[in-house]
C-alpha cells in the first residue's frame, strides 16, 4: 500500500514479517538477520516489534519481526502492535509467514492483507510438516489465484531462504493492485456508494478506498474511529446511517456475510491449488496421543507438577557439583592472586579490591553459571516442545477459580526465567483486568536471579535437604501467586469476562539449534549483568565498606555497616537483624543476584568463604525466613520498569512494589516466629 513509504535508496528495503502466531516468523527473522530472538512452540512468543538487518547481493534489508496475529482485528496488546505497524504502511514488502500445514486459517489473514493492498510475498513455511501430511500445494496456481508471489521455506532448517531473499528484492515494486473478493450484489453496491462518498474527502486519497469501505460496512471500530477523526462526527454519521439502513433490509448481518465470503474465496483457492490425501477417517496423530494423557482430567495437574519437579531437579542436582568446581577455582584463584599481589608490592587496598570486592562479590555470583545454564536449557526444551500451551490448558482449572483463565498461566511460566519477559508476556491477554492481575502476581514466580541466593544458603545450611528447601520456595511462590490472584480478583475492579481461545500447536522435537541459541542468549545476558550492574553495585559496596577512611574493612562502623544498621531493625523480628542481611536486601532491589554479591563482599573477610560465614551468622530457621523474604519481597528495578511501561501507571507499579514487601515481611514473620515457638531449626 505504501502510504508513508519513506524515500529509500534503491538498494534499501524495509521488510516486515507478519502472519499467524507460531507460524515461524521469529525463526525466519533469526535466519535472515543472524539475530537470536526468542523462538518457542506456542502462540504469542513475540510480543513486541524487533528490528534486524539482512544483506543480499547489493541489497540491505531492514527486517522487522512482528507479534503473530490471526487477523487485523487486534484483540490484545501484542496484536495491536502488529496491526498498527501493518496499517501504518511504512514498509516496502511484507513477508507473510504461513504455516503450510494449516493453510485455510493462515490464508484468512493473507487475504485481509491483500485486500488492504499490502505488497506481500506469501511464504509457505513449515513445508516439511505439510509434506509429511501429504499436502501438495501448487505454488504457481496459488500465486496466480492470490495475485502475489509464493515461496516455499522451512525456516527451522534454513531451507528456501535464498530463494525468499531473491523473490523479495525482485518484487520490491509489486503492483499497487489489491485483491478484490466479490461480496455479492447487495454489499458490492453499497461498497461503490461508500467509496463515492469517501472520495470527497482528502484522507481517502492515501488509503485503499474499497478496503476502507469494506471495513466500515463491517463496523470495524478502528475504521469508524478513523472516519470520524478525519471527516467529523456529523459527516461520518451520514455514511454510517447509509450502511445501517441497508443492513436492516438485508437478510443477514453484513459482517457475517463478509466473513463467509472471505472463507468461501479461500476454500475455492485451496480447492484449486491444494491436494490432500483423502483419508476417510483422519488417523489420530502423535500429538493427539500425547494430549490424551497430558490433558487428562486427573493426570493433567500431577503431570505438570512432575515436569516442574524434573526441571528443577535437573537444574539443581546436575548443577551442584559444577558449582563446587567453580567455587574451588575462585577460592584458589583468589588466594593465589592475593599473595601474588602482595609479593609484587601492590598496596593492600588494591589487593582487597580485587580479592574481596571483585572475586568475593562478582565471583560469588558467577559461581552459579551452571545453574543458569541448566535452567535455561530445560526451559528452552519445555518451550520448544509445545507443552507450554498444554500446561496453560491444564492449569485453567486452577486459574478459573481465580477469575483468570488458563492463558494467564503462560506469563507465569515465562516468569520462572525472568519476570521482565513474564510481565511483557501478559500482552497476549485480551482483558485489561486479567492483564493487571497477571502483572501484579508475576514477580512471585521465582526467577533465575533468585536461584543463586537459594543455592548458596541451602548449600551452607541445609546440606542434605538443600533441594527440598529450594523446591519448597518455588512452590511457595506459586501458592502465594494463587492466593494473591484470588484476593485481587475479589477486591479489584470487576472487569469484562474474558474469552478463552488458545491454539495447541503440534508437539515438535526441540531443535538443538533453537535450544542452544536460547540458552546462550540467557547465559550471555547473565554474564553481561554480572559485568555491568552486579559489578558496579559490588564495587560501590566495597567502597562503602572502606569508608570513612581508616575504618576497619566491612565493619559495623563502615558506611555500609552504618547504613545496614539503620535498616536492620525492620528485619530483626524476622530473624535476620544483622546489618549485612539488611544491606544485601536493600541493594538486592537493583538486581536479585546482588544479595549474594553483597554478602560476598561484606563477609569476604572471613576464612573459608561465604558458606562458612553464613553458617556462623544464620540459624537454619533464620535462613529459611531470609530466603522467603528474597523470594517474595519488592521486585528488582528491571521488573518494576517493565511493570511501569506495560501498565503505563505509577499506581500499579507502586502497588506491586509495596504489597510484595508487606507480603514478604508477614510471611517471613510467621515462618520465623512460628518456627521459634515450635522450636524448629533454631
Amino acid at each position: 500500500m505504501a502510504l508513508n513509504k519513506r524515500e529509500r535508496k534503491n538498494t534499501e528495503l524495509k521488510v516486515a514479517l507478519a502472519g499467524n502466531p507460531n507460524s515461524g516468523k521469529t525463526t525466519m527473522f533469526n535466519e535472515l538477520t543472524g539475530s537470536r530472538q526468542h523462538v518457542g512452540n506456542w502462540p504469542g512468543v513475540t510480543v513486541e516489534k524487533k528490528t534486524g538487518r539482512a544483506f543480499y547481493q547489493d541489497y540491505s534489508l531492514e527486517v522487522i519481526d512482528l507479534p503473530g496475529t490471526y487477523s487485523l482485528g487486534a484483540y490484545s496488546e501484542d496484536e495491536v502492535v502488529a496491526r498498527d505497524f501493518l496499517t501504518a504502511g511504512d514498509y516496502d514488502v511484507v513477508l507473510n509467514i504461513i504455516n503450510s500445514a494449516n493453510l485455510d486459517r493462515n490464508l484468512y489473514f493473507t487475504v485481509q492483507l491483500l485486500e488492504m493492498g499490502v505488497d506481500l510475498i506469501a511464504v509457505l513455511n513449515m513445508a516439511d510438516e505439510a509434506e509429511k501430511k501429504g499436502i501438495k500445494i501448487d505454488k504457481n496456481k496459488l500465486s496466480q489465484l492470490l495475485g502475489t508471489p509464493v515461496v516455499e521455506t522451512v525456516a527451522s532448517r534454513g531451507r528456501g531462504i535464498d530463494n525468499l531473499l531473491e523473490q523479495t528484492v525482485q518484487n520490491r515494486d509489486l503492483s499497487e493492485a489489491s485483491l478484490k473478493i466479490n461480496y455479492g450484489s447487495d454489499i458490492e453496491d453499497l461498497i461503490s456508494e461508500v467509496v463515492e462518498m469517501l472520495k470527497q474527502y482528502d484522507f481517502s486519497q492515501q488509503i485503499n478506498q474499497r478496503w476502507a469501505a469494506v471495513k466500515l460496512i463491517e463496523h470495524d471500530p478502528e475504521a469508524v474511529k478513523l472516519l470520524e477523526r478525519e471527516v467529523g462526527a456529523s459527516k461520518a454519521k451520514k455514511i454510517k446511517s447509509l450502511i445501517a439502513e441497508r443492513e436492516l433490509k438485508a437478510e443477514d448481518d453484513f459482517d457475517n456475510v463478509i466473513i463467509d465470503k472471505k472463507y468461501e474465496f479461500i476454500n475455492k483457492v485451496i480447492a484449486e491449488s491444494v491436494q490432500r490425501p483423502t483419508a476417510d477417517e483422519e488417523p489420530e496423530n502423535v500429538s493427539d496421543k500425547i494430549d490424551a494423557v497430558v490433558t487428562n482430567k486427573y493426570l493433567g495437574i500431577p503431570i505438570f507438577m512432575a515436569v516442574m519437579w524434573a526441571i528443577f531437579k535437573f537444574t539443581f542436582t546436575l548443577g551442584d557439583p559444577l558449582i563446587g568446581y567453580i567455587e574451588t577455582f575462585f577460592e584458589i584463584a583468589g588466594g593465589w592472586i592475593g599473595t601474588q599481589l602482595l609479593e609484587i608490592g601492590v598496596s593492600p587496598l588494591i589487593s582487597s579490591f580485587i580479592t574481596d570486592g571483585i572475586i568475593g562479590g562478582v565471583g560469588s555470583v558467577l559461581v552459579f553459571i551452571p545453574n543458569i545454564f541448566l535452567l535455561f536449557l530445560a526451559i528452552g526444551v519445555l518451550e520448544d516442545s509445545g507443552y507450554m500451551s498444554r500446561a496453560a490448558y491444564v492449569m485453567d482449572k486452577v486459574m478459573s477459580k481465580l477469575g483468570l483463565h488458563g492463558k494467564s498461566f503462560i506469563p507465569m511460566i515465562v516468569g520462572f526465567g525472568c519476570n521482565v519477559p513474564g510481565v511483557m508476556a501478559t500482552r497476549t491477554l485480551d482483558s485489561k483486568r486479567d492483564r493487571i492481575i497477571s502483572i501484579l502476581i508475576n514477580p512471585l514466580m521465582s526467577c533465575s536471579a533468585r536461584l543463586p541466593v537459594y543455592v548458596v544458603f541451602a548449600g551452607a545450611l541445609f546440606s542434605s535437604h538443600a533441594s527440598t528447601v529450594v523446591f519448597s520456595l518455588y512452590l511457595m511462590g506459586i501458592v502465594m501467586a494463587v492466593i494473591m490472584a484470588g484476593i485481587f480478583n475479589k477486591i479489584l475492579f470487576k472487569g469484562e469476562r474474558s474469552h478463552f481461545v488458545m491454539e495447541l500447536p503440534p508437539y515438535r522435537f526441540p531443535t538443538l539449534k533453537g535450544v542452544i541459541i536460547h540458552m546462550w542468549e540467557k547465559v550471555g545476558a547473565f554474564l553481561k549483568k554480572a559485568g555491568t550492574i552486579i559489578f558496579s553495585v559490588v564495587v560501590l559496596i566495597w567502597v562503602l565498606a572502606n569508608l570513612p577512611l581508616g575504618v576497619e574493612y566491612a565493619s559495623a562502623e563502615s558506611f555500609i555497616g552504618q547504613f545496614g544498621q539503620l535498616v536492620a531493625p525492620i528485619f530483626a523480628p524476622l530473624g535476620f537483624g544483622s546489618w549485612q542481611a539488611a544491606a544485601s536486601l536493600v541493594f538486592g532491589i537493583l538486581a536479585k543476584e546482588v544479595v549474594v554479591g553483597t554478602l560476598g563482599v561484606v563477609y569476604a573477610a572471613g576464612e573459608g568463604g561465604l558458606r562458612t560465614a553464613l553458617l556462623a551468622n544464620f540459624t537454619p530457621l533464620a535462613a529459611y525466613s531470609f530466603l522467603t523474604m528474597v523470594l517474595l519481597y519488592t521486585p528488582c528495578i528491571a521488573t518494576l520498569g517493565a511493570i511501569k511501561s506495560e501498565t503505563q501507571s505509577w499506581k500499579w507499579t507502586l502497588i506491586t512494589a509495596s504489597y510484595l514487601f508487606v507480603l514478604a515481611w508477614i510471611t517471613a514473620f510467621v515462618i520465623y516466629q512460628g518456627g521459634m515457638l515450635l522450636g524448629i531449626g533454631v
Binding site: Y75, R105, I259, H405, F500
Partner: protein, 76 residues
C-alpha cells in the same frame, strides 16, 4: 445446539457463531466459520479441546456456547 453440549469424540458441523462482536471476531479468526467440521477431542468439565481440520484449539465453555453446530455433520 451449542458446541459445548457435544460429547467427547463427537463431530458436528458449524452452523453459525453467535455472541458479541469480540467473541465472534476471535472465533472466526481462529477458523470457526459455518460449514466447517469440528470434532470434540476433550470434554471433561474444563475447557474443551476441539479439532478444526488439523488444528487443535482449547476453547472455554463460554466460548463453546457461542458456536452453534449441527451434530448430523456437514453435507457432502
Amino acid at each position: 445446539m451449542p458446541l459445548a453440549m457435544l460429547r467427547q469424540g463427537e463431530t458436528a458441523c458449524i452452523k453459525e457463531i453467535v455472541g458479541g462482536r469480540t467473541a465472534r471476531g476471535k472465533l472466526t479468526d481462529m477458523g470457526f466459520v459455518s460449514g466447517k467440521t469440528v470434532k470434540i477431542h476433550r470434554s471433561s468439565g474444563g475447557p474443551l479441546i476441539v479439532g478444526l481440520g488439523d488444528n487443535r484449539i482449547a476453547l472455554g465453555r463460554g466460548m463453546a456456547h457461542k458456536v452453534i453446530v449441527d451434530n448430523k455433520g456437514c453435507e457432502n
